[in-house]
Every structure is written in structure tokens, then in C-alpha cells.
Symmetry: none
Subunit: 521 residues, 2 copies
């Protein structure tokens, strides 16, 4: 096993094949900049032959002045019977003007004869001549050996001949692809070892897919077998079940196996980068993700929490700040007084665990949790609660009355509207709004009513709204918990409301969302 | 490697430690029934010692008449210095009256001295005597060796002594736990092999967590090293990054390695089961999940699609129907036309897959799924849809109008009421009701209005009500999906409604709940 390993990111190429993912040129430039800052060695940025609008992106990449990363353009071998020098797709690839290029070719005999519909020898010629042509243009060439593991299992001789053709053409790296994602760690290890031994002096890469939930393990095992390039994507995005997840592979290799993949100081930026890519891809960040998920270091049970406080190694495989993540002790009675006191001290540093105020707050917290509140995901509501109980809160408005009306059928189907009357600074304000459903109507009416008193609320948007039925066996009389996430584009905060009435629960969370913003301004 | 492998499901115990997961007794019973139908060998159903309300659940498990699964209750060794026969927690464990029990104990010397704060010998006594006590009560005993891999790496002699104590006590199975989720496939393989060789005649289990995104690989490698029990959860739910995912492990072992884990015919129900558990847990089903995700067999690139049509093996590691999944995301396709035709034939046995009616129904199903409907968990609504489209449905009533009013504050806080006017058999009926929230008020008003026309509805109760926000980034204007479960004490049925308005979505599900009952009577 080599300890120097190159991370090869294909978020912008293979990753963008995922359903629902589509990056603008500006998005791609931002992602490239962040990947470079992390210390990724190769960034496979797109396929200029299949996507001519990528050419603008490749042109603008020159502006970035990257520190670590080699930009790589992706294409395929020349067509059956064709001369690489006359292949338009290869011309586009060269037109991208990158230091490195990756080209994929067939290594599974079945694919050559049944899908490509040519002879096994012609496929070898295509690989060899395409790579030789690109090498003659001064490129570093990565050969993506498509379906290599399936091909090797079906016909090892031919799969190795295909790699040999790439090496004859001058390939710098043989990237072994488990294209269908069906291979197992022991197979990957053994086959990679064979390839490494067969082609000394040529670096070997690994490219896995997660169809058996084994992509991270397969990538790690390939490195343990001698591969030095690891292909993958941030958060494992990619088609079907995704590509191998670099956010797990990089810390696995570097923190657990002692490999050098990125500059050690950058490891602490991994969580931020992962969240950034989720955001740009407009995907919900996976809370359960290894290393970089919001719950990756969350502790619930009291015993675990005590033990982690005594010594993190007792229930944590690494300390969370190593990857820029944080321990999350759930804000509940099991979290222990120390955690809650920390929150209280942010508002009043003079209180101790024995202060009567502290005890009263903890009692109140327990009562609310029994009613269905859950403050671990709504710390802003908890902060407001503490402020109120310490007399450090002045409401920005008083509710006089609201009335929400839902009628069916109206002229255009269902119609929801809200009338709202509030009292602010000695004045009454009454207003109404309609909306997509009763909560939306109420939200709009509240903003409308507050607008002239608190113009700073204009920047605030609701970004997330979650409803959960707490005791669903009580059916439609069950309690509901509503969580609302808001942002003013600088920060975001989450508030909570619980009630047997979804409107009432939503109203409580809406009021907290507004009050929290006003308390902070 | 043994080819007979026992699946050990801990969704209801370790899985329910995950943030946001909380199952009602009714939920748990439904999950147990489905796990048994799949062919799971052991179902770890809860921890009766830590959660006294679980006793009702364990009592009711007796009603289920399970075919495959042994119900297992979970607890821990006796306390330091204590006699197992006098331990209240062990008494609760026995009170659960299950054929098998699992108890966890310490095997990492550091945990014994620093967290448990006792001597290494006392810990061995606790393990040995607790297991001997449980064996004397006639239980099958699984010893959950907490932190076994970390313990073995720190002090292999002591970790093996702890297992030896369990074997001396009479343990039937040694479940090796990677509690912190930090171990790697090669380590798991080598250490499991050592344990298997050391304790011939005792079966060995594996219990992994996904903190390095390696839990599935680690579990598979342990089986390859000789383990015969595989612990995990459906969809990998569990605290932090989750438990090992049985929905990947079971097909990996059975389809790829030739193990016998569940009856072969049941493999086709895996995707449905996985979706069912997501729905009951009120979690979004992971589209990217291996084998059972909605995107697991989705193809984007045209070339891939063509090749897959030529021959599935070209870009698929298995054919999707092997696990009850399908090449597209929609449930219509997931269930397969055969399944849908089966439903249609229940209503009209003369239709075939080529009938124009069948095609029209499938088209409509696809449209509704694009709108956010999901019929796997709401087959009663699907049946009504089919009846409507085949002209085999007469509505029991027509809605003339409803109006729901929510006011705050009234004399006693928030007040919700509903006025409803319907038309039945040539007569109008107008009524009103108030309730705990607008949906409950509407539900009560509808029952009141229908009462004199359809007295059989008096037996019907709503037993479950779930709300899911479909596109939470649209905040309070997002679409919501409502699922309502009803029962008449003989059978139960689930109906669905989708709308941007929670009241409207609930109304649709309520109407289906009533119509389904009346169509059946």
C-alpha cells in the first residue's frame, strides 16, 4: 500500500448524472474553487465533447489560479474504425485546454461485441491509438477502464489486454471502474493487486459505485491493494445509488490508515465543504452521513452522554472537530444539566447549576418535552424560552385575534385565508391574507401586519416547514409538532410549536421565528 | 464461510435510538409482522428493563402467531457486585416472555475500568453469571459483546476472556459489536476469524455501525470469516450514522454470495418492506439506497438505457425485480405491471395487461405519483381509484360545502370548528362539530352528517394520522401528503390525500376512508 494517495473528484462529471442535480457554470466554478482549497488532486470537471456549453466553463477555469488541483476533461476513445486525429469529440476534449484528460474505453469483452458491436482487436486499437494521440498533444492521460471488474471476472485475459493497450498508448493512470457497482471488497482487493503487479510503473486508480452499499469499502480496499488514485464525489452524489463518497474515503484513508490525501490542516474544512456542495446541488444534506452528517456525533442515551464527557473515545471513533464537525448532545432531559447550563450561561453568565432559576428552567424544559417539544433541533425556541423565564424578553407584538377560514368548494377549489389583529407599540394593526393552505395564509398575514413596525423582517424567509404527528394512534386528534426554519440570508434558525391543532402549533413556531430575529437585531 | 446465515433485526431496539424515530405499540406490531413475513430469524423487539411501557407490546406479540422469527428481548448484564437473580432489569427481561434474550456486556478493558468503574474480573463474573442465570430460565442467550473490536485492538486477551466468560455461562451466540463504527473490513475479517476458531460450536454474530460508511462491508466480511448471525436494521436506521443496513446485507449475502438468509421467494418483497418501514417511521425513503431505493435502477444517460434494454447486465448488477424494485422510480413501475394488474383483476377479472383500461389506469397512477401520491402504504385509496376508473364506484355522498374556522384566542385558547353540508340519496344534511384542531373537527362533522344514512360507520375509528411535507424547501406553501389509517375492529385500511393545503389533503384521505368502508359493506 502506498501512503501517498491522490483524490480524484468527479462530482461535476459523474456526480452530475444524478437525478435532480444540475449545476450552473457559476455553481461549478464555486465548487472547483472549494475542491481545490480542500486539496483535491484531480477535478474531473465535465465532458466537453458531449456538452458544448461546458466550453465556457472550461475557459473560465483559467481565471481561478488553482493551488492543488489538476483540472481533467472527460471523454471517450475514438469511434469504431476512426482515426483519433479526425474525431470531433477528441477535438473538443483538447479544446478544453486542461493539463489532464480522462478517456473511458471498454474492457469487458461482452460490451465490446454486444454493445459497441466491434471486434475485440478493434477495441484494443481504439484504446491504444486514442491514448497515443492525446499523449502526443502533451496531456496527462487517465484511462477509465469501464466495467473493468465485471470484465475481469468474465474474461481476465481480455480485460488485462485492454489495460495493456492503454499502457502501450502511454496512459499515465489505469482507473479500474466498477461501473455497475456490483463487486465486493475481496474481489476488488484481489483484482487490483493483480493489476498493480502486472503494470509496474503505471499508477492505478479506483472508481466505484454504491449499488451494494460497498463503494467506500471497495475504494479503501483498492488502495490497500496498491491503487494510488481514488475517484469519487462529494457526499457520494451520482446516478442510481451514487458514486463512492470522498467525504468518507478521504478521512478513512488519512485518519485511519495514515495515507496522505489532502494537506492535514484542511481536514477540518471537510464538513463545511460537504454542506456547501449539498447546498449548491440543492439537496438536503444527509444527517446520517459518516464524518460530515449532522447526526454523525449525536448522542441520545444518558449513559453514552456521560461516558463521552468522561472521554470521547468511549463512544466516538474520532473526535468530531478533526473533520470540522461537532458533537451534538441532544437538548433533552437526558442531555444533562451541564449542557443546559451552557445555554443558560450564554444569556446570563452569573447563573450556576444550583441557581433557583436554573432549576426552574430545567423543570419547565421537562414539562415541555413531555408535551412533545423537542429542542435539539429548535435551539432558537429554547433560547427564547430561557430569555422569557429570566425576564430578558419583551414581546415585539401582542396577538389580539386571528381567524383562519378554509372553505371547500369555492369557485377554484379549496380556499384558505387568515385574518389577523395584533397590537404593537400602542397601536392596533388588522390585516388579512390568503395563501396555499391555512398556515401559509397565516404566515403571510403576520408578515404583512408587522411590516411597517419591523422592516428588518422583509429579509426573513421561511426555508423549511416540517410537521410531525406525535401520537399518531390518537388519529386526527393527535398532537402535532411543527418545525420552521427561517433565514435572513446571513444565518438561519429553527423554531418549534406543539399543539393538538396544526394551525396553533404552526402559529407558535411562526411567532418564535419572528421574535428570535427581532431579539437578535 | 457458512451458507446458512440468520438475519437478526434490531430496528425496534437499536434502530429506534435514531433521532426523530419513535414507534407506537401499533407501529411496532405491524413492523414485527412484516419482518416475520420477510423471513427474519430474530427480531430484537425492545428493552423491557429500560422502558416499562414496552411490556404491553411484548404481551401483545403473543397474538401474532409468527412463522419465522424468534422475538428477542434486550437487556444488560447484572450490576457491579449484584446477584443476577435479584436484578430488577433482568426480571423485566424475563417478564417479556420471549424465547431469546440478548444481553450486552463490556469487553474493552478501558470501558470496564474507566466507565463501569469496576475490576476486570468482576466484569467477567457479571457476564458469566448473568448468562448462566438466563440459561437456567430456559432462554436462548445472545451475548452482545459491546465495543468488541475496539476492545480486541486494545487488549486482545481480555476481549477474548470476556467472550470465554459468556461461553462458560452458556451463551448460544457471541455477537461481536463494532459499537463506535470505527473498524475496517480487513480488521473485522481477521478478528472474526480468530473468534470463530477460538470458540468452535458457538455461533458468532456481527453488529456494525456505519460511522465510516463501512457497516455493510464489515458485516459481509464477518460472514465471510465465519459469522452466522448478522445484526442490522431496515434501511440502516439507527443513532449517529445508523446501524448496518439489512436491506443491503441480505441481498448481498443471498444474491451475490449464495447464502441462505431468507426464503428465496421473499426476496421480491424487500423493496416493499423497506418502504413500509420508512413510512411507519415517518422518514423519507432514501432514493439512493442500494437495492431498495427509488433511484437504485434509474438510468439517465440514453446510452445506458439502450444498453439495459438490450441486456440488463450491461448496466445493472442485478435485475431489479429480484428485490421487488424496478427500473424506474415510480411506484407503478416499482410494483410492476403484474402487481397492478393483480389489483385491477380483484375488481374486474376480465382485464388483461393489454386492455386499454389497464393502460389508462397505469397512466393515471403515474400522474398521481408525480403529484406526490404514493400508494404502497395506501392500497385502499388505490382500489377506490381503480373502481372509479372502471365505472364501478358510486359515491355514497356528495360534498356541497365545508368551512373550517380556527380562531385564536377564544375564551379557552384556540378553537377549531367545521361546518359541513353534504347531499345523500336526494337529501341535504348540514351539520357542524368542533374538535382538537381543524382536521378532527372536519372528521367529526363528516361522521355526524353520515350517521343516519350509514349507521355501519359508527364502528369505524381513525387509528392513525400522518402528515408529511413533500417539498419542505417550499416552506409553508409546500405540498403535504396525509395518510389516514382506519379500523372497524375487524380490519384496517389506509387512505391518502395530497394537496398544498393540509386540510384539503386530510379531507381527501377522510373521504376515501369512509368510501372504502362503504364500498366493502
Amino acid at each position: 500500500m502506498n501512503t501517498k494517495v491522490f483524490a480524484y473528484d468527479t462530482t461535476l462529471r459523474d456526480g452530475s448524472q444524478a437525478q435532480g442535480v444540475s449545476f450552473s457554470v457559476e455553481d461549478k466554478l464555486r465548487i472547483v474553487r472549494k475542491l481545490d482549497e480542500l486539496g483535491i488532486a484531480y477535478i474531473e470537471a465535465g465532458n466537453p465533447g458531449s456538452n458544448p456549453k461546458d466550453l465556457e466553463f472550461f475557459r473560465r477555469l483559467g481565471e481561478l489560479n488553482l493551488q492543488h488541483a489538476k483540472i481533467t476533461a472527460f471523454g471517450s476513445t475514438c469511434k469504431v474504425g476512426a482515426n483519433p486525429a479526425e474525431d470531433g469529440q477528441l477535438a473538443s476534449l483538447l479544446g478544453a485546454n486542461t493539463p489532464a484528460v480522462a478517456i473511458f474505453g471498454k474492457t469487458w469483452d461482452y460490451h465490446v461485441t454486444a454493445i459497441l458491436r466491434t471486434t475485440l482487436d478493434e477495441n484494443l486499437r481504439m484504446i491504444r491509438e486514442t491514448i497515443a494521440f492525446l499523449k502526443a498533444q502533451g496531456k496527462e492521460v487517465i484511462f477509465d477502464a469501464e466495467h473493468f471488474f465485471d470484465g475481469y471476472k468474465a474474461n481476465p485475459d481480455y480485460a488485462l489486454q485492454a489495460l495493456a493497450a492503454a499502457v502501450e498508448g502511454g496512459a499515465d493512470n489505469l482507473a479500474l471502474c466498477d461501473t455497475n457497482g456490483g463487486s465486493f471488497p475481496d474481489e476488488i482487493f484481489a483484482i487490483t493487486q493483480t493489476v498493480v503487479a502486472r503494470f509496474p510503473g503505471v499508477s492505478v486508480g479506483i472508481h466505484c459505485h454504491n449499488d451494494c452499499e460497498l463503494a467506500v469499502a471497495n475504494s479503501v480496499r483498492a488502495v490497500q491493494a496498491g491503487a494510488t488514485h481514488v475517484q469519487g464525489t462529494i457526499n457520494g452524489i451520482g446516478e442510481r445509488c451514487g458514486n463512492a463518497n470522498l467525504c468518507a474515503i478521504i478521512p478513512n484513508l488519512q485518519l485511519k490508515l495514515g495515507c496522505e490525501v489532502i494537506p492535514p490542516a484542511n481536514m477540518q474544512t471537510l464538513t463545511t465543504l460537504a454542506r456547501f456542495v449539498s447546498e449548491v446541488a440543492n439537496m438536503e444534506h444527509n444527517d446520517k452521513a459518516a464524518y460530515v452528517g449532522g447526526d454523525a456525533f449525536a448522542h441520545k442515551g444518558g449513559m453514552h452522554v456521560d461516558a463521552v464527557h468522561k472521554n470521547p473515545i468511549s463512544y466516538e471513533h474520532i473526535t468530531p472537530d478533526t473533520v470540522g464537525n461537532a458533537r451534538k448532545i441532544l437538548m433533552s432531559e437526558v442531555a444533562g444539566r451541564a449542557t443546559i447550563l451552557g445555554k443558560i450561561n450564554e444569556i446570563d453568565p452569573t447563573l450556576t447549576k444550583d441557581s433557583p432559576e436554573t432549576k426552574t428552567i430545567i423543570e419547565r424544559l421537562k414539562e415541555l418535552e413531555h408535551e412533545g417539544y423537542q429542542f435539539e433541533s429548535a435551539e432558537s425556541s429554547f433560547e427564547l424560552l430561557v430569555r422569557k423565564m429570566l425576564g430578558k424578553f419583551t414581546p415585539s407584538f401582542e396577538l389580539r385575534e386571528f381567524k383562519v377560514v378554509v372553505t371547500e368548494p369555492s369557485g377554484n377549489g379549496i380556499n384558505s385565508s387568515a385574518m389577523l389583529k395584533i397590537h404593537v407599540n400602542g397601536e392596533d394593526e388588522i390585516t388579512a391574507a390568503d395563501g396555499d393552505g391555512p398556515v401559509n395564509a397565516l404566515d403571510k398575514a403576520l408578515r404583512k401586519a408587522l411590516d411597517r413596525f419591523y422592516p428588518e423582517l422583509r429579509k426573513v424567509k421561511l426555508t423549511d416547514y416540517k410537521v410531525r404527528v406525535l401520537d399518531s394512534s390518537q388519529a386526527s386528534a393527535a398532537k402535532v409538532r411543527v418545525l420552521i426554519e427561517s433565514t435572513d440570508s446571513e444565518s438561519s434558525w429553527t423554531t418549534i410549536g406543539v399543539s393538538t391543532d396544526v394551525i396553533d402549533a404552526s402559529w407558535r413556531a411562526l411567532v418564535d421565528a419572528v421574535e428570535y430575529k427581532l431579539a437578535k437585531s
